[in-house]
Symmetry: D2
Subunit: 291 residues, 4 copies
């Protein structure tokens, strides 16, 4: 707990720590993950994101096109008779239309980032120097547990604030338990890629306390902080910024829920492997559950 | 074999097929992958790539900077007192400094892409319509086998052309066997991110025949086609374009080789999960080996 | 005239020519331009274009924003306490929301560009090698004449096709004459930045013949080719591609018309000075009329 | 003068002013500009800037290319048989390889921009709200005077600091006088696009005082502030930030000097017309001198 009564891990793993609760993934946690793998069946926890053309003017009479912005694509011109086809992507990582990992530096607490590094030391014009997403670049492999708040492809109400009790209830339904170092995967049946003014459900501070108490190493959700926002934002300003709990935002968990339901098994090995690009505040990611 | 005497899978899985040799990953292949997982230890097969600033003019007296081009980064300006830190990345996927997956459409064979789709139907100004990388977006999970051509962190000569016999020798050293649907991981001890004029080793056509005969579903290598090139390019114009064998270029396999050597075990579960972005000619990827 | 009965200047100024009708601006044309300058009053013929942020994720709760695409802006992050403020712009030159100069290479005639250069020689993946916009980079200074098709801030109907007779009538109203080397400025009272499906008026082939016969060196208009299009496109596929007449698209001419009307003078010195960037198919431009 | 003894125009034209010394261009200044136009001959004061490809991977064997950064170009892929050729440009405006206009907001004085507006009101993540370059978007037309510090295509030493006395000497050589509202064009025979560590000459505070006393409306130079820098930077932190004197950086003035020398006339009409893009900290520009 810090002075404001908010849970905090600042200092728990030292003043230089860059991985936060990923420290909880130890050999025992890895062995628990391995034990979940039986058939080799897998499913993606990422939403499919269609890029928009970065460039317009593709017709001779002028194009007044507008483009959405999560990912923009340049199909490269490789000559009139191309021997290769390539493209370049402009990725706006933190867009709600793209499943992505929030780095620990993504949200400052005042003028510091986890675990107390001054913002101007951590963030420079030429990249992130502390708390960047590449600390997940070696890959995160741990046991994952799905907490489905709205079984059978249901969805929770827009104004619902998910509490620790809600997570307990979902865990009861799953009939399993959570161990320190596990990834907690929360499905609410929502697509957070909504216009800014539209309400979206999210977790409350009691849910953050629950994640802390259960030793969650990683959070993956199709929801995160509610809109309209309440400050401090439970997931971004408390779980991420103070607990050092990495967040995977804008996941798509329907197929995972179907697989879990069919097997009546809500745990699996989770593999998270963002592109190994250094010095960023976040990275697009495609978490894979393996059964 | 096609009319030119080159091996080809055009038509093997139908005229509409978009996944090529990934068709070989069946339940048995997945079960073999699952059987490789014992401890939950993992290692990344991707190189770390540092982005360059997309923008200059960062000093008041003018910046004549030049930038390298695999990934460029915009650290977003989120206001004078930022409540969030974000960035955007421009990813030039097929750059040799970035571990990436080549989609089947990446290299045409004449004016067609695998398995015979006219180039202008497959590639449009607004994205790839046939043979795009997103067919790997659900995640590839299969058994991987490391063939280390230069054990103990050695490297092969720049002018060496890797043959099927070389692959056999490495497989012998590994003391294991290859099954249809496996991913073949080839380490030559090379960094292919070299100036264009500098020679780089690569695989020859007999190695491509070897991959075909052994039922490789996926190729991951720290080398691919040699430079200076010989046409047809064995890996890009034959394996990728005609066999429909997806390639992961510019991998970094030293840590994997160390782990395999320490365990005296050259097989593992391989998880490949590129960002789930649709309609591209390739995607940055971070393959993870799990033991 | 070429084989199809379309007017053409291919060959008129040699097989290597890159400036087309700008060849008509000689010392006499420049002297006529100079004679128009009396007070030093000036007006812009460009529309104001507001850029959109290239990047999103500007709020801690995720931004589903979409962006229009004529110009996108990165406000550079220059550190927590910036000593300079800079930005970078991504300019989609040929967007209908941006006043821009079409280079002669912009529209091929079949597989050639003016005056008969093979497309693959003219256009390369690393830039335009023949017929690029930088040939206007030294600045175009000539006499301009405004032909206002809809005086007193009127506008012509969406389905109107502007003919040579329409241009004659406007020139009669202006009470002046056109000389070889003049820039012809056509105001229809339209904004061409409309959704693609919406009709927009344009010039017909008789208007192109008129421009040819009168020795127009440059065309500036708030309209160009009509939508829905009729092929060959009179302005882009005939005037630009065959006559070598550079076009300035998407001009904004209301203020110019007001100034001309107030002075009862429809001629002026026109200065066109795009950024001096080489090897492009077009450039954003801000034409200035000086009285 | 402000508290630090530095010349300042904060407040001279009101607390909301956005154009600074451009206020000095009145009807008399415009008439003086008009009187300079005799033949209609013109010359560009901008350097030619070649863009680099924004994208790589243009060859099937992988491209390790690096790119310079003033302007990057995407040659758009418009289909296998293109009916149009277009490109998009990424313009890093304040790069020393590109002739550009510095907006008044470009350099803050502490946490304020000219004439005292708080930085966070003036600069937002979605664009510049005070002191942006678009205030020059209507076009600047005024009389220009060339002060050639190194006649006959000479150049001044790298360690020279140009003083007010140097400007007086050049004005004497020119045999003309300066009037309030004139643009002062300073040629030192230098290319400021040099590696950051290399010395470059610049103006000192007495030169800034000279510009202030002579009523300069605009500064155009092939030099600006010296490198290594001395603080406060005379041109950027005093002339621009405190006097509100817009600067055109990285001009190329050799052709202009040749024309002036041939005519023995060092004054002309200057037309400055940046693309009319709003809300920026600067814009690429191609100033044109008309004789």
């Amino acid at each position: 707990m810090n002075e404001a009564g908010l849970p905090s891990n600042w200092g728990r793993w030292g003043a230089e720590d860059e991985i936060g609760t990923l420290n909880l993934i130890d050999d025992a946690a890895r062995a628990r993950a391995a034990a979940e793998v039986r058939e080799g069946t897998s499913v993606s926890l990422a939403r499919a994101t269609a890029p928009a053309p970065l460039t317009t003017g593709l017709t001779p009479v002028g194009s007044p096109a507008t483009v959405p912005a999560a990912v923009m694509q340049v199909v490269n011109f490789n000559g009139i008779r191309p021997t290769a086809v390539t493209d370049s992507l402009l990725v706006n990582t933190h867009n709600a239309a793209l499943t992505h990992l929030d780095a620990l530096c993504h949200i400052p607490a005042g003028d510091k980032v986890y675990p107390g590094v001054p913002l101007e030391q951590a963030i420079t014009p030429t990249g992130v120097r502390h708390g960047s997403a590449d600390h997940a670049g070696k890959g995160i492999v741990t046991r994952g547990v799905l907490l489905d708040l709205a079984p059978r492809r249901g969805s929770i109400p827009a104004d619902h604030r998910v509490s620790g009790a809600d997570l307990d209830a979902a865990l009861d339904r799953a009939g399993t338990s959570v161990h320190p170092g596990d990834a907690i995967v929360v499905r609410a049946g929502w697509d957070v890629n909504q216009p800014m003014g539209r309400p979206v459900p999210g977790l409350d501070l009691s849910a953050v306390a629950w994640l802390d108490e259960h030793g969650a190493a990683l959070y993956v959700g199709d929801i995160g902080d509610a809109r309209p926002p309440v400050f401090p934002l439970p997931m971004h300003q408390v779980a991420l910024a103070r607990l050092g709990l990495p967040l995977i935002d804008a996941a798509c968990l329907d197929e995972l829920a179907d697989l879990c339901s069919a097997r009546q098994r809500w745990s699996f090995m989770l593999v998270v492997a963002p592109p190994r690009i250094t010095g960023t505040a976040g990275l697009a990611v495609n978490p894979i559950a393996v059964f």
